[in-house]
């Protein structure tokens, strides 16, 4: 194309100088100046120009613009990827947070339930122990009371025997003895 363009560009000069067409002179006389030599040269110049400008300027410009566009698209793509990754991470984080909250709530509930069970158990044990203590105390009281009564009876008998012995040794009359025994019994009798 370059060589053809060069040939046309130079050949136009020859056409302009050497080729004379009658209708061009007619056109020139009517004010329309046409020179096919210049036309051919213009075609040649353009054929060279297309190639030169395309190779030296438009191709680098296109590559530069495309490179920038590609870089921008890559940056936007990366940003979009990061955004989706962030969204996914946020979703995961929220899910994990919700799960943690649920687990914590579950643990707290379990602890509360355990504490309540323990309280109930402790209360039951305490009640049971208190009942045992009460029962034992009542038994102890009953036993002590029985023992005291037994001891009192034994003492009454002993005292009665002692009193009887004393009465017998002192030879007092019946009436006086009876009075003494009655007094004694009145003295030692313990109200139930």
């Amino acid at each position: 194309m370059f060589i053809i363009g060069l040939i046309l560009a130079v050949g136009g000069f020859w056409v302009s100088k050497e080729v004379k067409l009658s209708f061009l002179e007619t056109l020139a006389s009517q004010g329309i100046l046409l020179d096919f030599g210049k036309t051919i040269s213009a075609i040649g110049v353009f054929l060279i120009l297309f190639k030169v400008i395309d190779v030296f300027y438009f191709t680098p410009l296109r590559e530069s613009i495309q490179g920038r566009t590609t870089a921008l698209e890559a940056t936007f793509g990366e940003a979009e990827s990061l955004r989706s990754e962030m969204t996914q991470m946020k979703t995961e984080f929220e899910a994990r947070l919700a799960q943690t909250e649920a687990e914590a709530r579950e643990k707290i509930q379990a602890q509360i339930r355990e504490a309540q069970e323990m309280r109930t158990q402790l209360m039951a044990e305490a009640t049971q122990k208190a009942d045992q203590f009460l029962k034992r105390a009542q038994e102890d009281i009953a036993r002590d009371k029985e023992q005291a009564l037994t001891e009192i009876r034994q003492k009454v008998v002993t005292l009665s025997l002692q009193a009887t012995e004393k009465l017998l040794q002192d030879n007092v009359d019946n009436e006086r003895n009876r009075k003494l025994v009655d007094d004694f019994l009145a003295k030692v009798e313990v109200p139930r």
Partner: protein, 260 residues
């Protein structure tokens, strides 16, 4: 030298009347000037290529132009229009810079019909080449015959074919004449305005805003129409599939707007 470069009918000077056009050498000098400006801008812009962010003025400007042309190609031609970006962008740059040169110099390549015809021939030739690549040589020329008609209407198909061929040839004329007419016409308007102000008052300078607008619009129109022509020949098969399925083509909305 003055005759070669067309000096004597500059923006600032009073018009000399009849426009004689540039010689071959004069046009080459102006093409060299335009290409010098284009390569200067591209070389300055290239210093920032490879960096993540373009910080230089020229690189930022070129990037915006590139993105603008990319939108134009993709919007009109479709996703496969990206491969035409270098082609369209080269057109846009050369035509735009040539138009801007026409603001400050007596003439410019785009103010010359011969140069514009060359550019149009390349554009339409490339469109035909791409059409043949996309549809095959037979398929591409078959497309010129219009819709498939019964054998009794073969004559109509033949007439459509002839009209389409003439239409394709006339695209070269319309593209080149439109550009030439706008740039050279603007120049002649400035010269005429300068004549009103005499030799010392550049009244034509008041037309600068509208001429700047013309520079941008004409470069855009040439690029846009080339895109439309490329779209028509490379989307042909898709359009037929869409029509058969009763679906609108993806680019069909863009084309009428672009054609206007």
């Amino acid at each position: 030298m003055g005759t070669t470069l067309g000096i004597g009918s500059s923006l600032w000077a009073a018009g000399g009347g009849e426009h004689h056009g540039l010689s071959w050498l004069g046009m080459m000098v102006y093409i060299a000037l335009v290409l010098g400006i284009v390569f200067f801008a591209l070389s300055r812009a290239k210093q920032d290529f490879g960096q993540r962010v373009f910080k230089g003025f020229w690189s930022q400007l070129l990037e915006q132009v590139y993105l603008f042309i990319e939108n134009l190609c993709v919007g009109i031609i479709g996703a496969h229009g990206r491969k035409y970006i270098p082609f369209i962008l080269t057109f846009w740059l050369v035509i735009f810079v040539s138009n801007v040169v026409a603001l400050f110099f007596p003439t410019s390549p785009t103010a010359d019909l011969s140069f514009n015809l060359g550019v149009a021939l390349i554009a339409i030739g490339y469109v035909q080449w791409e059409g043949m690549k996309a549809n095959g040589v037979l398929g591409h020329f078959k497309h010129f015959a219009g819709p498939k008609l019964p054998p009794a209407l073969l004559l109509i198909s033949f007439m459509i074919f002839i009209i389409e061929i003439i239409s394709e040839v006339m695209k070269n004329v319309s593209l080149s004449l439109r550009l030439f007419g706008n740039i050279e016409g603007g120049h002649q308007a400035v010269v005429a305005m300068n004549n009103l102000g005499g030799s010392f008052v550049p009244v034509g300078f008041l037309l600068m805003p509208i001429k700047i607008l013309t520079c941008i619009v004409q470069a855009l129109i040439f690029s846009l129409l080339t895109c439309v022509y490329l779209s028509l020949v490379t989307h042909h098969e898709d359009d037929h599939h869409h029509d058969e399925a009763g679906e609108p083509a993806g680019h069909s909305e863009a084309q009428p707007a672009a054609a206007h």
